[in-house]
Symmetry: C2
Subunit: 392 residues, 2 copies
């Protein structure tokens, strides 16, 4: 064995990278289930629907041929073209395939976008509350995430004033998420355009996280690509298309960045998953889209059920969230500390929800995130347990 | 549109990240093929064999159930256990599943290992010639790759003396690749142990790239895990297991790093591909391993054919490479510049090989990498074209 030497140390960056707390909570929920408890899962940021059968069939047909080899680093041309057509059909916007990089989930898309934009010491603005992993991508690259606090007053989306107030000479851009995780809030086209202009004045980049596009209720989210020629857009096959476990997403970038994005993708990833790419070719078929639209209606029905129920129990949700599958509820009238509250809810009443802790530093102790990624009857059971827990 | 602002700049790191030249060469080869030319491909670092049918069947059975969801960040427990058993059976070494992280290819394994070890400004030692992407992972993290030149004299593997000579207070470790890409050279167990001890004396980490394990001829490569308790080991389902397009690999790390590796994996990747993981469960079945051993014998037969042929044509290959599927040939007796030579070979004679340029700064202009990842009859055709090209 290696003898009596010193041991290598852990990189300092790891001290800044938090665990994803919801994963710990899910592990606790799993242990309770293994011990025979019934748990209502309202903590999971993953659609409960299976892979669309058309998509699964496309994958198995491809795999049966056996030729599951590396693909081009930016993805197979047919899929880049299919994504381009999808933008034309859904959004009426021209996004040539040459601007589209297919990636190993939106995670890889974000790493590529930030990798070509951020040097160590550079700053990136992010809304808070926001998806927890995003700030850690910046940290992994040696850059510094700067939170922009968002709340009911600014519609849970950052405003140009905030960007101006927080800008420094090291700021390189803003990561906008619309619809937002955890709030479900959308940024209006007017807001996105104003942010893009504010960033353009400063030579900063707008990076739009659009992974919940398609999951909006009573409206369509407008892509930043229709509002700015300079936007970076991150999207995913995970949420609307129901393909989480396949790990596939995409990045759209301004043309002059594509050569560097390709270089970085070649080096860091070699290629995205070949079965996932061939599966995704079937995601844009009319019959698949019809199925996905039916699922979207089901998500909307769940939201329409859950929101008034939570409000009746004493949770505050300022505005009706119009996208994603989350309600970010202020629980401060019910409990002083959302993390302890979530712990009790799970342990005593078998309801799993995510405390605000995962989403930043903006009043996390006042908030819980409810995900409506379970069937209606389970939501009803969860609400009944919440009511009993609260003595209502 | 976004108006008349300044444009965001490209991160400085991208100036240090080279394209993967072999990809450009493959694109040129493809264009020639589209124009009707027949090309002998000896440039591709990918086995030509299809996914083993047992593996493909395991994937399609899993996909047909439709439940292709996120998995735990470190992989499904059954696969971590299967990898652990494989170490016990093949190498007689005890690697508990808790030390194994399943990853999106060895690319993700390397990013995780370096992510928990390297801070910006830290240095990483790497053999040169070596796999080109490795140094760019260090650069992506803001760290500094330091080449250790290896050649026929030191068996194309770094020696403890070199580590001692290049060590600075910022050096965090050594990335060792055995068998090596591009040379196919193995590091002996004695060499690996000496390197591990030399690193332990300095508090440095040994990171062993073992992605070509299983593809050794007339010998077995010894895992660094049998020689040091402190080694990080990177492995892959791509090469021996023939699963390139699935993008699946693994990382083994010392126990005290696993919590941070899990945090980083949760944040950067969410989870590896679920279909790939379920496919890989069938990779360790006896009938699959029998097929893989037959393929290994075929690779050996190709090496045994190609090596003397190249030598007869005037290429110099110092020692018989014992692993991977590459011959790294000194072509300086035949041409002064390997890149120009490779260009002419492709254009004039329809033979695609990789110039040394991709593998570092150690006499790249003297070397070509030949991959024996095509069937014997194509190798013979390639050799015949080489002979004609050289007028022999």
């Amino acid at each position: 064995m290696s003898g009596s030497g010193r041991l290598p140390g852990i990189a300092r960056r790891m001290g800044d990278i938090a665990p994803f707390h919801v994963m710990e909570l899910m592990a606790r929920a799993r242990r309770l289930e293994e011990a025979g408890r019934d748990i209502v899962h309202m903590e999971v940021g993953e659609p409960d629907f299976p892979t669309p059968p058309q998509v699964a069939e496309a994958a198995t047909a491809f795999i049966r041929e056996g030729r599951v080899f590396y693909t081009p680093a930016l993805g197979i041309p047919e899929l880049r073209e299919a994504i381009s057509r999808f933008y034309a059909e859904r959004q009426g916007v021209d996004v040539p395939p040459e601007r589209i990089a297919v990636t190993a989930g939106s995670s890889a898309a974000l790493l590529l976008a930030l990798g070509v934009l951020l040097d160590p010491g550079d700053e990136l603005l992010l809304p808070d509350p926001g998806y927890p992993c995003n700030r850690h991508f910046a940290r992994a690259l040696g850059a510094v995430p700067r939170p922009l606090f968002v709340d009911a007053e600014n519609g849970f989306q950052p405003a140009p004033d905030q960007v101006r107030a927080c800008w420094t000479e090291r700021t390189k851009g803003l990561l906008l998420a619309s619809p937002s995780n955890p709030t479900g809030a959308l940024a209006s086209p007017r807001r996105i355009k104003a942010l893009a202009e504010c960033l353009a004045e400063r030579g900063g980049a707008l990076i739009a996280d659009e992974i919940y596009h398609g999951l909006t209720y009573g409206c369509e989210a407008r892509t930043a690509l229709a509002l700015s020629d300079e936007a970076f857009v991150i999207n995913s096959f995970s949420k609307y298309f129901g393909m989480t476990g396949w790990r596939l997403g995409w990045l759209v970038a301004p043309p002059r960045f594509m050569r560097d994005i390709e270089k970085l993708a070649q080096n860091l990833f070699i290629s995205p998953s070949a079965p996932a790419q061939h599966a995704a070719l079937a995601a844009f078929r009319p019959d698949t889209l019809a199925l996905l639209e039916a699922r979207r209606a089901e998500f909307q029905a769940r939201r329409d059920y859950l929101l008034p129920q939570l409000r009746a129990l004493g949770f505050r949700v300022a505005a009706e969230p119009r996208g994603a599958f989350y309600l970010y509820a202020d629980c401060s009238a019910l409990a002083p500390d959302s993390e302890a509250f979530a712990g009790r809810l799970l342990q005593e009443s078998g309801v799993a929800v995510t405390p605000g802790l995962d989403f930043g530093e903006n009043a996390p102790q006042r908030h819980l995130r409810f995900a409506y990624t379970v069937a209606r009857d389970r939501l009803e059971e969860g609400v009944a347990r919440l009511a009993r827990h609260l003595g209502k």
